[in-house]
Amino acid sequence: MRPTRERLGRNGFSLVELLIFLTLGTLVVGALYQVVRFQQRVYRSERATIERHDALRLASSVLASDIMEASGREGDFVALGPDSIVIRSPVGFGVVCDVDNSDKRIGLFDTAGRINVSAGDSLLVYHPNGWLVRAIQTVNPTGTASLSCPYTSGPALELTLRVDGSVTGVPVGAPVRAFHVYTYHLKQDRGSWWLARSDANSSDGDILDILVGPFSNDGTGLTFAYSDENDQPTTDPTQVARVDLSLVAVSGGYEERDTLTTSVRPRNQ
């Protein structure tokens, strides 16, 4: 059966229809493309902003928590620099419940965090005459009489440590803080500058944890200022009562940047 003219007209497109469709379609697709491009730019920008904010938050959290627990008078600030800080960073905690003076052992309960020989951690042990600094020699040494907590109703011993110095006079109930001396500074990696943590005890000084970034490399990426109890600038680690911390996170080839400044007061003064 041969189609009639009317039937052809209903099922096909005229040239005008086609032109109108192509014009409108081009406009719609072009507009969509612009919208997608714009959204992509917004997405990238927002994502970069989020990453910069995250970097600032994380970096300030890491630094602030270490600084807050430090005690200047007790020697926790090892070295102060304008763009770096060397500090006893807390890594573990425990409470002494038994002491073996002759074998230089202490028994701990309520342990938390990391207390590790292989990681090179050291200990700060409370003593009525002043805090002791001790290196851990052995964790849970074998072949020795076991220690135990003296409490009839209370916590049990969790960990035994042998240390490198005397523990005579350490009372039951003394807190123990495991620490590691770290240097916080910016370190270049793959073309960007990152907050890094170096093992200050390492002879090559090159054991690095890249923590977070990137930060500005123009000298403003990480800066410290130190004040004493009278809010006067100080360079004496034993006098530090406030640390002003400034961080500048960057993205997009260092064109986009956000700054965070905060003041941290060590609690253990």
Binding site: G130, Y151, T152, V172
Partner: protein
């Protein structure tokens, strides 16, 4: 050109609807991606903010626990034991919960060590939590009491008429306390005074001790204000009861409700008379910021600190240590078991009186029991604040 439409819309096969749907889908996806970004940012920000709020709550809780040290509950803990404060609100809506554990081994007579762990959270039901440990010392006094039933500077007027005045330095354990104290340690002078010529006696007071009166030229102001590591001011600041100067206290009595000692009651000074009663172990530090007049019929125990003058008119039975920075005037019926220190003012130029029916009986047991509880909480030296990373 003729375009003839017939049959209505259903037969028209244009692109409008598919194109519109496509556009809607694309725009929706873009909007969703934007929303996702915003949500991520908000989540990160909220997480950090909640974490810091929890940290601040834990920190504020630690400070508050130390500032409002519960001497009664902590003092009753054996080594290793603990108590839980439960969740407590802070003004900004956040909360903290403290666990106070005694961690020393009872070998140090001067102090106890406590591990105070406070957990903070932004609000009820919010899971974000941070935990802090504050190591705390509960420090006891040293040398506060007693080297005599009464230690005094300045003029002392003893009028042994009427019901009679007794001052006895021979160590006695209160009768009802039998078996609750170790044996008496050593007898003390009845009255230890800077200069015995400052004592004026009339009537027939009964003075006894080893000796009854001892002149001690070494007595200084510090004997009334410095007690080892602690000062009078430390004790006053940490007192359980703060009474305004010039107050008249009428018959303090133990207050018990539902079998519990109501320590918040201002006139509850513990119960020394009925051993084992709910307020038996409550030995408060009571500080009067000025003068105090005691009237009525009262009983109490603990450490009574008076910045100004003390006047006793009623019938008072007190077990523990009384320190008067001004002068004392006992003219009622007083039974003091423990020790009395009267500074007679800074210049020691005012008179103190023992008259009426005043009985001051040295009791090492009563004094020691009061001083065991009279602790002041202090943070551990050097480092006391620990952020616990679980």
């Amino acid at each position: 050109m003729g375009l003839k439409l017939s049959g209505g819309i259903p037969k028209n096969k244009g692109f409008a609807i598919p194109a519109a749907i496509f556009v809607i889908v694309v725009v929706s996806l873009l909007a969703l991606s934007g929303l996702y970004i915003a949500q991520n940012n908000a989540d990160a920000s909220t997480g950090i903010r909640r974490s810091w709020k929890a940290f601040n709550a834990a920190n504020a809780g630690a400070a508050r626990t130390l500032a409002t040290w519960d001497r009664w509950r902590s003092g009753g803990l054996a080594p290793g034991e603990s108590y839980d404060t439960g969740w407590r609100p802070l003004p900004d809506g956040s909360e903290y919960r403290g666990t106070v554990r005694r961690v020393d081994d009872n070998s140090d007579p001067v102090q106890m060590l406590f591990h105070v762990q406070t957990v903070g959270r932004p609000g009820p039901g919010i899971t974000a939590q941070r935990s802090l440990v504050t190591m705390t010392r509960a420090v006891r006094t040293q040398g506060m009491c007693c080297d005599g039933a009464m230690k005094a500077r300045g003029l002392l007027d003893i009028r042994g008429t009427g019901a009679g005045v007794k001052v006895n330095g021979l160590d006695v354990t209160p009768t009802a306390w039998a078996g609750r104290c170790s044996a008496p340690t050593a007898d003390m002078p009845g009255i230890r005074i800077f200069e015995d010529a400052d004592i004026v006696q009339s009537g027939n007071p009964v003075l006894d001790g080893a000796p009854a009166i001892l002149e001690d030229a070494t007595i200084t102001d510090d004997d009334f204000t410095q007690f080892g590591e602690l000062t009078y001011a430390d004790l006053a600041a940490a007192a359980d009861k703060q009474i305004p100067g010039g107050s008249v206290v009428d018959g303090p009595r133990p207050v018990v409700a539902d079998g519990q000692c109501q320590v918040s009651s201002v006139n509850n000074w513990g119960d020394p008379v009925v051993p084992g009663s709910p307020c038996w172990d409550y030995l408060p530090i009571i500080h009067v910021n000025g003068d105090l007049k005691l009237t009525g019929d009262g009983i109490g125990q603990g450490v009574l600190l008076i910045d100004g003058d003390l006047q006793v008119i009623g019938e008072v039975e007190f077990y523990g240590v009384v320190i008067v920075q001004g002068h004392a005037d006992f003219r009622g019926t007083t039974n003091l078991h423990g020790g009395l220190l009267v500074r007679n003012g800074i210049s020691a130029d005012s008179d103190s009186y023992l008259r009426g029916g005043t009985n001051i009986q040295y009791s090492s047991c009563s004094a020691a029991r009061a001083m065991m509880q009279a602790t002041v909480a202090k943070p551990l030296a050097g480092r006391y604040w620990f952020d616990v990373l679980e």
